[in-house]
Symmetry: C2
Subunit: 123 residues, 2 copies
């Protein structure tokens, strides 16, 4: 709990926006990262690998998103030759863009307070 | 994963601001709630109870905060007759106020995007 060495690193702030729908986490930082990887790699399997999670875990996160949004966010072909071949739908792109913009807006909005808070921290 | 009943509840957004210092979480939603309870109850034990955590867990969170900030955020008398008698320091009050203001500012900053995103969700 008191690793002196950890103090050398500058304190950092990360706004994590968590969207819940009933008991489900419909969207959040992890799911946003997953969508980004799916957009980049075109594959749930590749995305899972980059994020250090199992294919089944990534698949399950996609299923949760697809069930929480009115339209699917990822169109995926499960199994087959191109196991996990996947792409963002129009809704997927829109959700990702809105979320990323929210993250940036949140970070910008707290900047002044964060500077004040940072001065109170070891760093 | 597909509980229909969970759809009845309006989707909600919570900005969780996590402040890391090296490998430690110096401050975040849980620690902010703990400080609020300490301010209200004047006791780590009472605060732990309200938050459904053990006394040792709450005590450990306080220790982490106190070691991450330049000045302690909670002044606590451990054990004794008034087990866990505790109060926020000036730094503690300041940290809590800054953090709560950051949360409000973040929520306000994302409001427009959140409305747009909400329309894409079941709810």
């Amino acid at each position: 709990m008191k690793r002196k060495s950890s103090r050398a690193v500058q304190p950092s702030l990360r706004p994590r926006l968590r969207i819940t729908s009933g008991k489900e986490i419909a969207f959040g930082p992890g799911k946003a990262e997953l969508l980004s990887w799916v957009a980049k790699t075109g594959s749930i399997g590749q995305s899972a690998k980059r994020m250090g999670m199992s294919y089944m875990r990534a698949w399950s996160l996609v299923q949760t998103m697809n069930s929480c949004f009115r339209q699917p966010v990822v169109r995926a072909a499960r199994g087959g030759r191109e196991r996990g071949g996947a792409q963002l739908t129009e809704t997927g792109w829109r959700v990702l863009a809105l979320y990323q913009h929210m993250e940036q807006a949140a970070l910008k909005a707290v900047r002044t307070d964060w500077r004040a808070l940072q001065k109170l921290l070891h760093g």
